[in-house]
């Protein structure tokens, strides 16, 4: 937990410094034709975030010196189920670029339900076909919100 806290604070510090650099590029102090220089506002934000993350780092360090007991960041054995969700979800997004969201989602549902949920094939088929189909009618047909269809664009929009 402490290590995660420190890493997180370091990432935030990096973001803060990045923002500060950008502020410097846009100009921080002084007065332009449209009021304060454009970098002034983000300079304040970047400064706040950097200082804040340094304080958090300091707090972590103090806790570490005092050896305050903490819980682990990820429960033992907890990482695996998270990855089981996240990796297929990322695969789904990747596939969406090629075959569209509906079919990618159908595959994702099927894969997850069959291999992780260990459901019967009939349930798997029913959910992974019906859910995308229903969403297609709700979003594409009723509310006219086109969702990505990849290569199947021509087949589905008629």
């Amino acid at each position: 937990m402490r290590k995660a806290d420190a890493i997180c604070a370091l990432i935030i510090l990096a973001i803060g410094i990045l923002v500060l650099c950008e502020a410097a590029r846009l100009g921080i102090f002084g007065w332009s034709t449209s009021g304060p220089e454009p970098g002034m506002y983000i300079f304040l934000l970047g400064m706040g975030v950097s200082v804040g993350s340094l304080v958090v780092l300091g707090q972590v360090f103090v806790e570490w010196r005092k050896a305050v007991p903490v819980k682990p960041f990820i429960r033992p054995g907890g990482l695996r189920p998270v990855l089981y969700v996240a990796v297929p979800a990322a695969m789904m997004v990747l596939l969406t670029e090629f075959i569209g969201l509906y079919i990618a989602a159908g595959l994702y549902l099927a894969v997850y339900m069959r291999w992780i949920g260990k459901h019967k094939w009939i349930t798997v088929a029913a959910v992974s076909i019906l859910l995308p189909l229903v969403s297609y009618f709700i979003f594409d047909r009723i509310f006219l919100i086109p969702l990505p269809k990849g290569r199947f664009e021509d087949l589905l929009t008629f």
Binding site: C8, V19, V49, V82, M113, L131, I145
Partner: protein, 504 residues
Amino acid sequence: MEAVYNLLIGLQTALSPFNLTVLVAGLFVGTFVGVLPGLGGANGVAILIPVTFRLPPTSAVILLAAIYWGALFGGVITSILFNIPGEPWSVATCFDGYPMAKKGKACEALTTAFCSHFFGAMVATLILTFAAPIVAEFTLMFGPPETFAVMMLTFSALVSLGGMSPVKSVVSTLLGFIMAAVGIDIVTGRLRLTFGSTELMGGFSFIVAVIGLFGLGEVFMTVEEGLRLEGVSVRMGVRTVFQTMAQLPRFWRTYIRGALIGCWMGIKPGGATPASFMSYGFAKQFSKNPEEFGTGTIEGVIAPEVAAHAAGVSATLPMITLGIPGSPTMAVILGGLMMWGLQPGPMLFKENPEFVWGLIGSIWVANAIGVVMVLCFVPFFASILRAPFSILMPSIVFVCAIGAYAVNNRMIDIWYMILFGFVGMAFKKLDYPIAPMVLALVLGDMAESAMRQSLVMSQGSPLIFFNRPIAGIVNGLAVLFFFWPLVTVLRDRIRKKLRAPVDA
């Protein structure tokens, strides 16, 4: 009297057949998402914002608000039957609601909770109906410095209520503002924080952030902790429902106390959660048999429910009069308002009265219909949570992906959503509050332009935030709130020091 007349017009708007259909649909969807893990009110509203572009603004806001009220009802079901508080302000409801359900009095607990919910919402709506026009009239005097001051007050209130670490609340808020700043400078039109990438030019959408942080983050948390649902099954008997209702007026003191606490706390941002705990605490203190609290007493269900929902409704007051959302869900609705081209704030009352009064009217109607609806369909909604998690979970991810994509029709947003999912999980574990970040992301542009306009007005002197009467008072309060955690720490230290010699 004008308010009554306006309210009647609002009710007429809300009761038109089309809006009524929208409202019932919204309530249903809302209860549904409120029950599902990983899809709270904020998320449900965020996912459906693209859908609202096809509706007239009044119907759109009625839909979103109905989802919000529905999600609050859904949260009641999960906290009483499954001991899972869907939202932080339902935590206190679990204390007595779940033990009651376990004793076989689930029907009584649910009826009590829904009726308390209804009562709290009604009192708050009553106050809203009469107070909102007055506050709006007052806020018409606000210029940029005052607007900025009110925002500062909002965020400092969030920091002081925020939770474990005030520093982390500040960092989280500022990160939200930074994300809002990515893209094009609103005054000069120059690109900023894009680092030469065209993907970043469009900035971050708050909808995507909400879906990722609240939705996926919650899903990740749930699978990591290994979800075990131990629900109590429920049978709703018509007779039990009416018998319970007949009992409730006996607790009128708890009702009125809770509603007032809720209305008062709800005006401040993030007020619903402390309101529910405060009301529970007071009810316990004033009760004749405080030892029964926590074991499943009916008063322990009434108190937090009344307060939380009075607070939930009275959070609408600052939103429609000042443009300041009191909760993440309200922030998303406010973002929607801006996307429909409406400017939240006092001018809303002048320029779009049918919109504001339609919204207020719909709160009355939605809560009345909502109570009846959830009472009838509780077993159905409870059965959703009994569906296997390995079916629910990928479906939730799929629906979240639709919502994230549909905002701007950009693929990159789905990737951002997954990224925000991990951020949300890390932030929750490390005690960085998420709500201020979302609020900052929604309000970022407004806060920035208020600040820069004020500085233009004063030719660069930051004193403008303090030497105008209203802005000065509000900013002073903001500073006080902001440093309040520090004050309490110092006070405790001084007390300890004073006590130390005595101990020695």
